[in-house]
C-alpha cells in the first residue's frame, strides 16, 4: 500500500524529478547527436548542460513596455507547477502527500501551464512571443479533453481519485493493457503539456521560438527546465495510473517505479525526437472528431466493468 513519506520527501521529490528531467535532456542530446552524425559520447550528452552557467549569468534582453510581472509569473509557474504535481505521485510505496483527490490535483497543476504559457507569451510585448502563447491555448483546447478522459478512465477503474488507490487497484492486470486508448491519450497529453516533439508548435522555429523567443538568461532556463520537468512528471504519473505503480516481482517497489518511469520517459523522448510537429489547427480536429469519442468509449469500458463487478 502507498503511504505518506517522512518530512524529507518534500525535498527529495523535486530533486528526483530534476534528476529524471536531466536524464531526459541528456538522452535527447544523444539522439540529436546521432541524428546529426556526430559521435554519440558522454560529451554529447553533457552538451546541453554546458549552456547552464552561461544562462545563469546572461544579462536580460528587454523590449519596450514589457509586462514584467505577468511575464515572470508565467515563466516561474511552469516549473513550480511541475514540481507541485509530483506531490501526489507515489514512488514505490512512498508519496509526499496522498490527498483523496490526487488525480484532480495533478490535472489542476497541469492546466496552470495554459495560463503560464499565455502569460509567458504576453509578457515581453512581442508579436511572435504572443503567437506562441496563443498556439499553446489552441493546442490546449485539443489535448486537454482526451487527457481528462484518460485520467477519468483510470480513476473509474479504481473507483477512486487517490493515486495510491489507482496503483493498488491494478493487481494482476495493468490499466495500460485493458485501457490502451487512455494510456496513449495520457502519453500524448504529456508531450502536449510539456510542448515538446510533435506539440512543440508554441515554441516553434517558424515563429522565431514562440514563447521562448524573447526569453534570455535565467528566465529562459526556467521555462526550458519547466517543459522537461513536466515531461518527467507526466512519465512518472503514467506509472501509478496505467502501469501498476511499484508492483512487480523480485525488485523492491521503488526500483520498479524507477524502472517503469525511465522506460516511459525513454519512450517519450524518442517519440518527441521522431514525430514531426503537428499544427494545432490540424490536431484540434483530430482530437475532437477522433480522440474525444474514442476516449469517451474508453471510459465506458471500466465503467461497465465496475458496474458488473
Amino acid at each position: 500500500m502507498v503511504e505518506r513519506g517522512p518530512w524529507w520527501t518534500v525535498a527529495a521529490a523535486p530533486l528526483l524529478l530534476a534528476a529524471l528531467a536531466a536524464l531526459a535532456v541528456a538522452a535527447d542530446a544523444l539522439l540529436a547527436a546521432r541524428g546529426a552524425g556526430r559521435p554519440v559520447t558522454l560529451t554529447a550528452a553533457a552538451r546541453p548542460f554546458l549552456a547552464l552557467p552561461r544562462a545563469l549569468v546572461a544579462g536580460p534582453r528587454r523590449l519596450p513596455a514589457p509586462d514584467l510581472l505577468l511575464w515572470r509569473a508565467g515563466v516561474v509557474t511552469v516549473p513550480v507547477a511541475a514540481v507541485l504535481s509530483t506531490l501526489v505521485i507515489p514512488f514505490g510505496n512512498t508519496v509526499v502527500a496522498d490527498p483523496s483527490v490526487g488525480v484532480v490535483w495533478f490535472n489542476a497543476m497541469e492546466v496552470t501551464t495554459w495560463a503560464a504559457l499565455w502569460l509567458a507569451g504576453w509578457g515581453p510585448n512581442a508579436a511572435f512571443s504572443l503567437i506562441g502563447g496563443y498556439r499553446f491555448l489552441a493546442q490546449g483546447l485539443a489535448y486537454e479533453l482526451p487527457l481528462m478522459f484518460a485520467l477519468i478512465a483510470a480513476a473509474t477503474g479504481a473507483e477512486s481519485l487517490r493515486v495510491g488507490d489507482i496503483a493498488a487497484a491494478q493487481q494482476g492486470l495493468w490499466y495500460a493493457v485493458w485501457m490502451p486508448v487512455a494510456f496513449a491519450a495520457h502519453l500524448a497529453g504529456v508531450l502536449a503539456f510539456s510542448f515538446l516533439g510533435p506539440f512543440a508548435h508554441p515554441a516553434g522555429r517558424d515563429a522565431a521560438g514562440g514563447v521562448l523567443g524573447e526569453l534570455s538568461g535565467p528566465d529562459r532556463l526556467l521555462l526550458q527546465a519547466g517543459r522537461w520537468l513536466w515531461l518527467a512528471s507526466g512519465a512518472a504519473m503514467a506509472v501509478p495510473l496505467f502501469l501498476g505503480g511499484g508492483a512487480g516481482p523480485g525488485l523492491p517497489a521503488w526500483a520498479w517505479s524507477l524502472v517503469k518511469t525511465l522506460l516511459v520517459l525513454a519512450l517519450l523522448v524518442v517519440a518527441a525526437r521522431r514525430l514531426p510537429v503537428v499544427r494545432p489547427d490540424r490536431y484540434v480536429e483530430l482530437a475532437w472528431v477522433v480522440l474525444v469519442p474514442l476516449t469517451i468509449l474508453q471510459v465506458l469500458v471500466p465503467a461497465l466493468v465496475v458496474l458488473g463487478r
Partner: protein, 189 residues
C-alpha cells in the same frame, strides 16, 4: 479546524478579496484577468480547507481554463489595439456603487438576521463520495436535464456564431469533396 487551517483560511480569504479589489484598480486587461484568477483560485483553496477537496481543486482547475479563454476574448473585443493601452473596469460608477452598496447591506443583514441551524450529524468521511451520490442519485434528473440544456446551448451558440453552413462547405448540391474550409483541419473531411 486547528490553528494552521484558521491561519490559511484567513490568508486565502484576504488574498481572494485583494484579487477582487485589484480587478477594479488595475488598468490592463491581462492583469485584471489574472487578478480575478488569483481571487478565484484562493476561493478554491478556501473551499478545500472547509473540507470539500474535490470541489476546491476542481474550482482551481476550471477557473484557470476559463480565465485564460476569457482573456483571449476580452482582449480580442477590446476597443484599443491588443489591450496594451490603459483601460478601466469601472463603468456607470454611480449606479454600480448604489447597486453594490445595497447588495452588500442586504447580504450582511442576511448573515446576522438568518437563524442558522445547528449542526446535525457528523461531516462525511469522504465528502467527494457524498457529492457524487447527491449528484447521481437524488439530483440525477436535474443533472441530466442541466447537461442537455448546456450542450444544446453550446451547439446553438456555435451555430449562431458561425457564418458558414454546410452549403458553404460542400457546395449547392452538397457533393463537393473535400469540403472547402478556410482552415484545413487534420482529419481531411
Amino acid at each position: 479546524m486547528d490553528t494552521t487551517d484558521t491561519v490559511l483560511l484567513t490568508v486565502l480569504g484576504v488574498l481572494a478579496l485583494a484579487g477582487g479589489v485589484l480587478v477594479f484598480v488595475l488598468d490592463s486587461m491581462a492583469r485584471v484577468t489574472f487578478a480575478l484568477l488569483v481571487s478565484l483560485a484562493c476561493s478554491g483553496g478556501v473551499v478545500t480547507l472547509l473540507g470539500l477537496p474535490y470541489l476546491g481543486v476542481v474550482t482551481v482547475l476550471m477557473m484557470v481554463m476559463e480565465m485564460v479563454i476569457m482573456a483571449v476574448f476580452m482582449i480580442a473585443y477590446m476597443m484599443n489595439p491588443a489591450g496594451l493601452m490603459p483601460m478601466s473596469m469601472l463603468h456607470n460608477t454611480r449606479g454600480a456603487l448604489a447597486v453594490s452598496a445595497v447588495l452588500f447591506a442586504a447580504l450582511t443583514t442576511g448573515i446576522f438576521a438568518v437563524p442558522w441551524p445547528g449542526r446535525e450529524g457528523r461531516p462525511p468521511r469522504d465528502s467527494t463520495v457524498q457529492l457524487g451520490t447527491a449528484l447521481m442519485e437524488g439530483q440525477m434528473l436535474t443533472m441530466v436535464v442541466l447537461g442537455l440544456v448546456l450542450l444544446s446551448t453550446m451547439v446553438g451558440a456555435t451555430v449562431l456564431a458561425t457564418q458558414r453552413g454546410r452549403y458553404d462547405r460542400f457546395g449547392d448540391d452538397l457533393d463537393r469533396r473535400p469540403a472547402r474550409d478556410p482552415v484545413g483541419g487534420g482529419v481531411g473531411r
